[in-house]
């Protein structure tokens, strides 16, 4: 398989790069300053693209690679892959579901506790010498028992529910249709209804045309100054401009954000707010999970080129 050209869209993981390099003829897209020259020289040999949440395979790239057979994404979200075009052209698409579910759910809960209990703020308080100077830190609102509303009850949404339940949190959710769940999770037919009836709203659905800005001004108003939003999905799930003004003006209680509309840009109005917790898209960012994701990407590519069933096909 060493002659099979695989195009990696951007730096994403050293171990993944190493494993791709071992097995295929790996092209690192970011090493070629002149995209046009690179494509005219090598496009014929490229039969696979490995993308991620930052850079996937859009229509332009797919059109520029006539030999493309498979897009294997180093992510579970496929909003950066033109799925319709792939389907049209018979190009296979795989992602990395399941292996990152737990880490993402863990981070969602971690953000909730850090936000409500002001963990980062109190760490800053200690490191700034304020405990000695100003005395005790303030009282912060309890996490256990707060109502949690989940947008999207897929693998990640369910994993978040399971953990939040262990903290005595009543669970409610919104999804395209009600799910049969073994525990009593209350279904709401609209996101505004969900937001009106929970204290912690968390986004855990896929990003599609329909779910872009699923958290908008109306939802933020419904959540209100006692409510908080947690985003471990994709930045465009939330109307970021509305979110920032709601936070700055005190119309929303707080936010825990792992994703942003224009990563790695983060609105700097959020930097000084103590009711905001910000992490740099680290939902699946552990050594263990990135290795498992790598194994899945490699496994899918090998299966494809050996004419075996794909491990996690989406198209």
């Amino acid at each position: 398989m060493e002659s099979i050209g695989v195009l990696m869209t951007c730096p994403m993981n050293a171990y993944l790069e190493q494993e791709l390099d071992k097995r295929f003829k790996l092209f690192r897209f970011w090493h070629f300053p002149q995209e046009h020259t690179f494509l005219s020289e090598h496009s014929a040999t490229i039969r696979a693209v490995v993308g991620n949440a930052s850079i996937g395979a859009n229509a332009n790239l797919i059109d520029a690679l006539p030999s493309l057979e498979i897009v294997s994404s180093f992510s579970v979200g496929l909003d950066k892959v033109d799925l319709a075009k792939c389907k049209d052209k018979g190009i296979r698409v795989t992602n990395t579901p399941g292996v990152l579910t737990e880490d993402v759910a863990d981070l969602a809960i971690g953000l909730m506790i850090a936000l409500l209990r002001r963990l980062c703020e109190s760490d800053r308080y200690v490191r700034g010498g304020l405990w000695k100077k100003k005395g005790n830190f303030k009282s912060t609102t309890k996490f256990s028992g707060k109502s949690v509303g989940i947008i999207g009850l897929g693998r990640i949404g369910l994993a978040i529910a399971k953990r939040a339940e262990a903290f005595g949190c009543p669970i409610s959710y919104y999804s395209r249709s009600p799910k049969a769940t073994s525990n009593y999770y209350k279904y709401y037919p609209t996101v505004v209804d969900l937001a009106s009836n929970c204290e912690i709203l968390v986004v855990a659905c896929a990003l599609t045309e329909e779910t872009r800005h699923i958290i908008n001004r109306e939802v933020i108003d419904a959540l209100g100054p006692e409510g908080v939003v947690i985003n471990i999905g994709r930045g465009p799930h939330i109307d970021e401009a509305e979110l920032v003004s709601a936070l700055v003006e005190g119309r929303l209680g707080g936010a825990g954000l792992d994703v942003f509309e224009n990563e790695p840009e983060v609105p700097d109005q959020l930097f000084e707010l103590e009711n905001v917790v910000l992490t740099p898209h680290v939902g699946s960012g552990t050594n263990e999970t990135r290795k498992a994701m790598t194994d899945l990407v490699i496994g899918n590519l090998e299966a494809h080129f050996l004419n075996k069933p794909l491990l996690s096909p989406v198209v």
Partner: protein, 317 residues
């Protein structure tokens, strides 16, 4: 002044805010504040109950000063600041906070742990210093699921930590004075054996002469350079000097600390480390917890005055 009301001595430091206490109990009891100029020793001698606010020490001289006391009502989960041995000798009952703060402390322990493993506070500093666009992706953290957790002390806080962490797919073991055999968790009589079988240690037991420095240098070396220590009990449970050294030298993977040996002093060397999360002894401090402790205190006082069993009596061990 209605002298038919029972008398309560409020034993506190000048820093303590007594407003909530006065609001809840001021009309039902005659509250005696020894720090006020109006304090009358004669009134104090009419009180059978001393409420120990926060961590104000209750020692033999306190008990000498208020000889009529028959019950000390604690307002915290940990009562190592109350000389329970001396109280027992004098036939004085002692109560603590019961489970008023247990959920909050358990939540906080989990929060600290996820923060340490997934670098939440550290990566937030990264974003806030505008480093993300310049320096690229933040270094990878470590998965919580599947990790072996060793809980030191399986009281109400320890058990709540255990049930929460089970939902994350962690494997739970514990060490406690007695084997709480009703659980599914693996019991180890000694912390030495516990630590050989876990990746993460969580200290949430009471501080006594037996548990002082129960986490020492040896424990940390056994835990190893991927090991994590979380302390939401008392600073004295951990040999802080050894902990700082192990962290600075990279011999221990990380730590989440809410308590320290000499509060509010925290070793400055810890401030340089991104694998450490520090909080100023506030795990129990929520408005909800404050409401609950007032309930617990009220219930204990009423029970004592009615000669009934106390809600959260600490029996002398």
């Amino acid at each position: 002044m209605n002298t038919d009301l029972p008398f309560l001595i409020l034993h506190h430091s000048p820093q303590n805010n007594l407003n909530e206490f006065i609001h809840r109990f001021g009309s039902r009891f005659h509250l005696i504040d020894p720090l006020l100029p109006s304090f009358s020793a004669a009134d104090a001698n009419l009180s059978r109950i001393l409420v120990c606010v926060g961590l104000e020490p209750v020692n033999p001289s306190t008990l000498d000063r208020f000889p009529s006391i028959q019950c000390v009502i604690g307002t915290t989960a940990g009562i190592d600041h109350i000389d329970t041995g001396e109280c027992h000798r004098r036939g004085i009952k002692v109560t603590n906070a019961g489970i008023a703060f247990s959920e909050d402390v358990a939540d906080y322990a989990i929060g600290l742990l996820i923060d340490v493993l997934r670098r939440i506070s550290a990566s937030q500093r990264y974003i806030r210093s505008a480093s993300w666009p310049v320096k690229g992706d933040y270094p990878l953290g470590s998965t919580l699921g599947g990790k072996r957790i060793g809980i030191i002390g399986l009281g109400s806080i320890g058990s709540m930590i255990a049930t929460r962490l089970e939902s994350f797919g962690c494997i739970i073991s514990y060490s406690s004075r007695t084997d709480k055999s009703k659980t599914n968790y693996t019991y180890f009589k000694s912390v030495d054996n516990l630590v050989r079988n876990c990746d993460i240690l969580i200290a949430c037991c009471s501080l006594t002469s037996e548990t002082h420095h129960i986490i020492n240098r040896e424990t940390m070396m056994l835990l190893g350079k991927e090991g994590i220590v979380i302390n939401v009990g008392r600073g004295g449970l951990v040999n802080e000097k050894a902990l700082v050294e192990a962290l600075v030298k990279g011999e221990l993977g990380g730590a989440g600390l809410d308590v320290y040996e000499e509060e509010p002093i925290v070793s400055r060397e810890l401030f340089e480390l991104d694998n450490v999360v520090l909080s100023p002894h506030c795990a129990a401090f929520t408005p909800e917890g404050t409401e609950m402790i007032l309930d617990v205190v009220g219930t204990n006082i009423e029970a004592f005055l009615a000669n009934k069993p106390l809600l959260s009596e600490v029996k002398y061990a």
